[in-house]
């Protein structure tokens, strides 16, 4: 692999006396599907928040396509083609499904406040293009039928899906999914697995997935990094990780390792 898309280099963050993430070094390559797993409180979401600029690392470097992301604001990082979803869905509840996605095209829009006041032809042409692209995205994920519904009225699974679609509308090279399978039943999980694979192939992007559900993670990830108490304890292919005694210990406790 040449230069990886996303590089985390000795990333550490401390909240007071608590070291939430300690010297984490890992990477995500172009079009790679990487899983980040770990028990509750391992620091997985913190890693996401570090990458997306919600938190700044105490030390260490985060680089995306060779450029440092440290010190940038979340909206600037989205400009760098990293998009994310949230563990507890964060849609724009009062906006329609269509507008939820449309607003994410915002980054690629040339017009500004002045243009929306003057409303010249260029403005309308651009708005039409965005509307077409929005509908295209919605149709790909079969959400077109909800177009004018407020996002809050969607079924749970579709809200998850819409959140992913909205993230894709920012045209990312790397998509961060924070526990997309949370609260889903087995059928929905199976669909989600298919969906993630589909997205990766269709949009040719890299995906970093934080997940609790082992079936989902083991099923789709090419590489998995395991966090425990903020420290990376293992990294490798699903088979390697599954067999790693440290991982079993972190998840099931020491006893199980001895008996195994």
């Amino acid at each position: 692999m040449a230069t990886p898309l996303l590089e985390l280099d000795q990333v550490t963050i401390r909240f007071g006396g608590l070291t939430a993430v300690s010297e984490l070094t890992t990477h995500v390559g172009e079009r790679e599907l990487v899983g980040l797993i770990g028990p509750n409180g391992a620091g997985k979401t913190t890693v996401f928040n570090l990458i997306t600029g919600v938190y700044q690392p105490t030390s260490g470097g985060i680089r995306f396509a060779g450029q440092s992301l440290v010190g940038r604001k979340p909206y600037q990082i989205t400009k760098h083609c990293i998009a994310r979803t949230f563990q507890n869905i964060r849609l724009f509840p009062s906006l329609s499904v269509f507008d939820n996605v449309r607003v994410a095209f915002h980054l690629h829009v040339k017009h500004n406040a002045v243009h929306s006041l003057t409303r010249f032809r260029a403005f309308h042409t651009e708005e039409k293009q965005i509307a077409a692209q929005t509908m295209e995205l919605l149709e790909i994920f079969d959400l077109g039928k909800f177009r004018d519904e407020p996002a809050k009225c969607l079924p749970y699974g579709d809200q998850r899906c819409l959140e992913i679609v909205r993230a894709l509308a920012t045209k990312p090279k790397l998509l961060l999914l924070d526990e997309p399978a949370a609260g889903m039943n087995p059928t929905e999980k199976a669909e989600l697995t298919k969906l993630i694979r589909f997205i990766k192939d269709k949009f040719q992007i890299a995906v970093l997935l934080v997940e609790h559900d082992m079936q989902v993670v083991m099923g789709i990830c090419e590489r998995i990094a395991v966090l425990d108490y903020g420290v990376k304890i293992a990294e490798g292919t699903p088979t390697e990780v599954r067999a790693n005694p440290k991982v079993i210990e972190a998840y099931l406790g020491e006893e199980h390792v001895k008996h195994a």
């Binding site: 997306t52 919600v54 604001k73 979340p74 909206y75 989205t78 400009k79 998009a83 994310r84 949230f86 964060r90 849609l91 724009f92 509840p93 009062s94 906006l95 329609s96 269509f98 507008d99 449309r102 607003v103 994410a104 095209f105 915002h106 980054l107 829009v109 017009h111 500004n112 406040a113 243009h115 929306s116 006041l117 409303r119 032809r121 403005f123 309308h124 651009e126 708005e127 965005i130 509307a131 177009r147 004018d148 407020p150 909205r166 993230a167 920012t170």
Partner: protein, 312 residues
């Protein structure tokens, strides 16, 4: 080629111009109510951008109005005699310039208030803006040049139905057009979920400041029109109760619902007027009415969420 919304704007301007030609034959009492309606629409719609669409609860709108009113009035009263001859005695050149200056100084104040709003949310922001409004009022009260607590008298009678409703139409158009675009959906996104908005690449700071600056600008213009209609302004007129009155219009109309807010502004103006015969009990009735409405319809009187249905 104009957009359809711009035809509406031109039509509204034309109607208010024609109406102003007949203003002499209108009963002055009704004229007063009509102009007050127009000014209140401008105030409520401009506040709707800040409170309703962007969700930044501001209680200082009367402060912005005061800045605009005093700036415009000072220009026409003190500089008017010198400036008018240069403009060939044409008040229709002087007046909009004075209004514009008032709007600009108000939007500068909006910028000042917008900056703390980046750190504060909800109740805290409401208190800061409330304090800001009071500061403005007290400062004006203590400046002798502008009449202090006595108020400023002798303001020329420039405001007509045209200026009042023309301004209201421009305000409605501006707020509508701002929000009805991919760019403008950002205002509602900031209101809905700030963290998600940031994650979608929306510069929430800039949106909030824009809302404050634009909202304050139009409140300043409304203040200027108000001053040149009443021909007398006093700091007491721009107190906390005026800010509350505007907030109530926005809440009753339904936050972020332009049509509802316009209707609420008109209804409340007429209501305040029709309760006048109850004297001091008027405010009790008024407050009771609001309490009842808040209990029965907390989402506002008019909630057909227009922007939620029509996507274009």
């Amino acid at each position: 080629m104009l957009a359809r919304s711009q035809y509406f704007l031109l039509a509204a301007l034309a109607v208010s111009f024609v109406a102003s030609l007949f203003s002499r034959s209108i009963n002055p009492y009704f004229l007063d109510i009509a102009v007050t309606c127009g000014i209140n629409i401008t105030l409520a719609i401009s506040l709707n951008l800040i409170n309703g669409f962007t969700g930044q609860f501001s209680l200082g709108h009367a402060g912005f109005m005061a800045i605009g009113a005093y700036t415009a009035a000072m220009i026409t009263t003190t500089l008017g005699n010198k400036l008018l001859p240069l403009m060939g005695g044409q008040t229709w050149i002087l007046f909009p310039l004075a209004l514009y200056a008032g709007g600009l100084s108000a939007s500068l104040a909006g910028l000042l208030v917008g900056v703390p709003s980046l750190r504060l949310k909800g109740d805290y922001l409401a208190i800061v803006t409330l304090g800001f409004g009071e500061i403005i009022r007290v400062i004006i009260q203590n400046i002798d040049v502008v009449g202090g607590a006595r108020g400023l008298i002798g303001i020329p009678d420039y405001s007509t139905l045209f200026w009042t409703f023309g301004l209201a139409a421009i305000t409605v158009y501006t707020v509508w057009a701002l929000v009805h675009s991919t760019y403008g959906r950002g205002f509602i996104a900031v209101n809905d979920d700030e963290i998600a908005a940031e994650a979608m690449g929306i510069n929430t700071t800039r949106y909030k400041i824009t809302a404050f600056v634009v909202g304050a600008f139009f409140a300043g213009l409304a203040g200027g029109v108000y001053a040149h209609f009443k021909q007398y302004i006093a700091p007491q007129g721009f107190g906390f109760d005026k800010s509350i009155e505007i907030v109530v219009m926005v809440i009753l109309g339904g936050m972020g619902n332009n049509v509802g807010v316009i209707i609420a502004a008109i209804l409340l103006t007429i209501l305040t007027e029709s309760l006048r015969k109850f004297g001091d009990y008027r405010m009790i009735l008024y407050s009771l009415l609001i309490i009842v409405l808040m209990i029965t319809r907390p989402q506002g009187l008019f909630t057909w969420p227009i922007w939620k249905r029509k996507s274009a």
